[in-house]
């Protein structure tokens, strides 16, 4: 059997088996689940090479599955996040109800994502896209909280995206008579102008919904925070990247080929920039860690869209690199929140505090991924941010670079809020019972967060597949003049060499660590967080010194005008308006036979009265 088919058969079979394996003992079920995630992905990694194809005929449509270097790059993202999240999920989800349902949906999502990456024709692309949407929707409503509000919102936006995409696919089929993506790309330059605009816009609505592009992002905070955290790390880490995947294809393979495409991409880039700023500001305001990370995901996807939208080689590289890094660190951070939720029962910064000494390994993972998120060298996030800034400057986007800078400086605020809210601050008696999570939950987090460190020092490890992916999209080879294994260059030839920098940082840190520790750490005694300087008074045990409510108040006093308008309100207003309209129609269609008879009579009378003017 073809390996490509084998992969999907295992996924599908595993999903069905885990769903119906309710009778199996817990451990067997977990092994079955892990095997269904690991075996096909392992098969993919070892057996599949770019160029393998599989063709079938289905209901008159020729379907083609193959892997290109570009989709291989995104498959790497899926593999790294999905495997770690699966290991995490096994331990994190132990003891919850409907476990089979969770496992099956988890596997289906991964299968759908791999399917999207394999699809070379629009039919299977759309089918897998819908499987992905459905399985993620079922995960959003998995816990049954706020289904009306959150689930429906996600569902409606996904439906809008799917219909837009379906319309585009139908138009493409009508124009070219083929469902192949390659045919579309080849035929696109010859389309008339209206179609050249319409097709990308429709497709981008579909992809924009999944990648939470403003103003299509409103579903994201709710959906990300309502799905189980083990799944959200895939949801935000990998699933949102499918939107980016499609977006890159549309922007590079289609839009570049018509003359006004430049402006089109400019608009997309600015939308990404605004998404980044507003996502960041709303993230700072959240008191719930899940919501904070959800808005932060929106903002980070904004950066990626900026890079992809600008589309110079350096910008595209930065977008794809950030996509990879975002998968790693946001995957980790959602796992951290999942861990804290499991160990303490809450994810609210105003409730839980001072966990650093109780959960040191979780803290380490959170710290590394937060540093990567903030884009501080020497971790991976910095490489992406650096390339983004440099590409914006060398492509003369003067004000967009300021917008991005503002957003990523403001991101420090929520980064600190996240770390301080959970791990630092006053240690309270209430949380004394909290213990470090089991190893199966900690190890995936540590693996992912250390990966950001490795890729920060040796960005070439990721830039190599990115380079190959970009070559299939039609870019020139960038190795050597834009990047080397641990050096990155901008378009003007300036460089950042990571290796000497990392050695210097480690040397300085070790020197002062020894200086501070020598005759100090052992000889000093640890004192509690109540034993602090407070103007000569000694705080009593019961006195509450926790600082977590209105954490960034002074900042919000300054940025208030920016946050008055909320796109969500407009959508709600629109929904209310529609509801009023439907209410009005309901009054006409009363369901009463006599009323309908009356309508007929009135209609006939009007006809008779106006007979002369109509037919005369």
């Amino acid at each position: 059997m073809n390996t490509i088919v084998l992969i999907f058969v295992i996924f599908l079979g595993g999903a069905i088996l885990t769903y119906f394996a309710g009778m199996l003992k817990g451990i067997l079920k977990e092994i079955l689940f892990l095997a269904t995630v690991f075996v096909p992905l392992g098969l993919f990694y070892t057996q599949i090479s770019t160029g393998d194809t599989f063709n079938i005929e289905l209901a008159g449509f020729a379907l083609k599955w193959a892997i290109t270097p570009f989709s291989y790059l995104f498959a790497l993202i899926v593999i790294s996040v999905a495997t770690m999240a699966a290991v995490f999920a096994v331990s994190a989800m132990r003891g919850t109800k409907n476990l089979g349902f969770f496992y099956a949906n988890f596997i289906l999502t991964i299968m759908a994502m791999m399917g999207i990456l394999f699809s070379r024709d629009l039919v299977s692309f759309f089918i897998f896209w819908e499987i992905m949407t459905w399985s993620s929707y079922l995960m959003v409503v998995y816990r049954g909280e706020d289904v009306q509000k959150v689930g429906i919102k996600y569902f409606i936006f996904s439906a809008i995206g799917a219909y837009a995409m379906l319309m585009a696919i139908v138009i493409v089929y009508n124009l070219t008579g083929s469902m192949m993506i390659d045919t579309l790309v080849r035929a696109y330059p010859a389309f008339d102008f209206n179609m050249q605009i319409l097709i990308p816009v429709l497709l981008l609505i579909g992809f924009g919904v999944k990648s939470a592009l403003m103003p299509l992002h409103v579903w994201a905070p709710g959906a990300y925070s309502h799905a189980p955290m083990a799944y959200t790390s895939v949801f935000s880490g990998a699933l949102s990247k499918m939107g980016i995947y499609g977006m890159v294809i549309v922007l590079v393979s289609l839009i570049s080929y018509f003359p006004q495409g430049h402006w089109f991409r400019e608009v997309i880039a600015w939308m990404g920039g605004i998404t980044a700023v507003m996502g960041t500001l709303w993230a700072i305001k959240q008191d719930d860690a899940k919501k904070l990370l959800a808005y932060s995901s929106v903002a980070q996807l904004g950066y990626i869209i900026v890079g992809v939208g600008i589309g110079t080689p350096l910008a595209m590289m930065s977008g794809l690199f950030l996509a990879f890094m975002h998968a790693l660190f946001k995957g980790t951070l959602f796992m951290v929140v999942g861990t804290i939720e499991k160990q303490t029962g809450t994810t609210n910064f105003t409730e839980v505090t001072g966990l650093i000494r109780k959960m040191p390994w979780t803290f380490l993972a959170a710290l590394l991924s937060i540093i990567a998120l903030a884009g501080i060298p020497p971790l991976g996030g910095f490489i992406g941010k650096w390339m983004l800034y440099e590409s914006l400057m060398s492509s003369e986007h003067y004000f967009l670079v300021i917008v991005i800078f503002f957003s990523s400086t403001a991101a420090f605020l929520y980064c600190y809020k996240f770390l301080f809210g959970f791990f630092l601050g006053q240690e309270e008696k209430e949380w004394d019972y909290v213990k470090e999570a089991p190893a199966l939950m900690v190890i995936p987090m540590l693996v992912l967060s250390f990966a950001t460190f490795v890729f920060g020092v040796f960005p070439g490890l990721i830039l190599n597949p990115i380079n190959e992916a970009m070559q299939t999209l039609g870019y020139a080879n960038t190795q050597g003049h834009l990047w080397e294994m641990s050096v990155i260059f901008n378009d003007w030839g300036n460089q950042v060499a990571m290796q000497p920098i990392i050695y210097a940082i480690i040397a300085i840190f070790l020197f002062f660590l020894i200086f501070l520790t020598l005759k100090s750490y052992k000889n000093t005694r640890y004192v509690t967080t109540k034993d602090i300087s407070s103007s000569g008074e000694v705080p009593k045990e019961h006195e509450n010194l926790t600082f977590s409510i209105n954490f960034m108040q002074p900042f919000f006093r300054a940025v208030e005008p920016l946050m008055k308008r909320q796109i969500d309100k407009y959508y709600n207003g629109f929904a209310n308006g529609m509801e009023a309209l439907f209410d009005f129609t309901r009054r006409i269609y009363t369901g009463n036979g006599q009323t309908y008879a009356m309508y007929v009579v009135i209609f006939v009378i009007i006809l008779l009265l106006l007979k002369n003017s109509f037919f005369g």
Binding site: G354, W386, E390, L424, I505, F512, V559
Partner: protein
């Protein structure tokens, strides 16, 4: 000069010089402040005495590992900045890591330390520390905008992000960027007021209000490390301004003269100003400094 040992020796010389100059400047600022306020003030070497005293003290308590390593994080930023910023143009001894990083890298490494230090301050559990940190981060968002606008204007105008290249531009044209890009200079200087955290922007430490904020739980060696890190960092920032706008310096006396001239701006502005509230500070930076930043970018794009 290619041996690794020469490089390490050069780095040590740079750091020691930065430490001495930074502490002296701080001492001088105390003296000048006192004279303006009609006091006698401490001698200019008072800070060296303080540093020596702190270094020789032993600490009795600590608040956990992160608090313990917080000052070391701070040191990374200070020393890395001083390594990246070209101290003397064309001097082998001081060319530490000048070509290994650029302005954007410098901007980002400059927040590494304060954030690490903020984490250490967070672990102490002192609410004043955390309040100071949130204020500091908010203020940073404020002044970073005009500051980055000024830098972006320079980088766009001269098509380089390397500090060394920007110095070379000034050498070739014979005019300082202060005169050829005046709006960028104004925006950068206004942003500097926030960066140096003198009054009216001393909302982070906020004496008599927050009990010195993030530093409040540190003593002995911790405070010594923080203090020396601050002085090195101050020197690095001053040298950066000199490199970017005043044409760099080819020998040490010129460097000292130029850096001290720059240093006087935030200091003298601070002596006569009362403290802002946090949101006032942020809005200050989004007023005139932002306006000059926009002018700088327009200037860079038009010419």
């Amino acid at each position: 000069m290619d041996s690794i040992w020469y490089k390490i020796l050069g780095a040590i010389v740079t750091v020691v010089m930065a430490f001495i100059v930074g502490l002296t400047y701080m001492g001088l600022s105390r003296k000048i402040t006192a004279r303006v306020q009609n006091r006698k003030g401490p001698p200019f070497y008072q800070n060296f005495i303080d540093a020596l005293k702190l270094a020789s003290k032993t600490s009795a308590i600590h608040h956990g590992f992160l608090h313990h390593v917080g000052p070391a994080f701070m040191m990374i930023t200070s020393i890395m900045s001083v390594m990246i910023v070209p101290i003397l143009t064309g001097d082998q001894w001081f060319s530490n890591l000048n070509f290994k990083g650029d302005l954007i890298f410098l901007l980002y490494i400059m927040v590494f330390g304060p954030l690490g230090m903020a984490l250490g301050a967070g672990q102490t559990g002192n609410p004043n520390s955390a309040i100071g940190v949130t204020r500091g981060l908010s203020q940073m968002v404020g002044f970073e905008i005009p500051w980055v606008m000024a830098l972006v204007a320079l980088m766009m105008q001269y098509h380089t992000t390397s500090i060394v290249d920007l110095i070379n531009v000034q050498h070739q044209s014979g005019t300082w960027l202060m005169f050829s890009s005046p709006f960028a200079f104004i925006a950068a200087v206004l942003a500097m007021l926030g960066m140096f955290r003198y009054s009216p922007f001393d909302i982070v430490g906020a004496p008599t209000e927050l009990a010195s904020g993030p530093v409040s739980e540190n003593g002995g060696k911790y405070l010594f490390t923080l203090m020396s890190s601050n002085s090195i960092f101050a020197f690095a920032k001053l040298t950066l301004y000199v490199d970017l706008f005043l044409g760099g310096a080819s020998n040490i006396p010129v460097l000292l003269l130029k850096t001290f001239a720059i240093y006087l701006i935030p200091m003298l502005y601070g002596i006569v100003s009362p403290r802002y509230r946090t949101e006032q500070a942020i809005r200050y930076f989004w007023g005139w400094p932002l306006f000059f930043g926009i002018l700088a970018i327009l200037h860079a794009t038009v010419f």
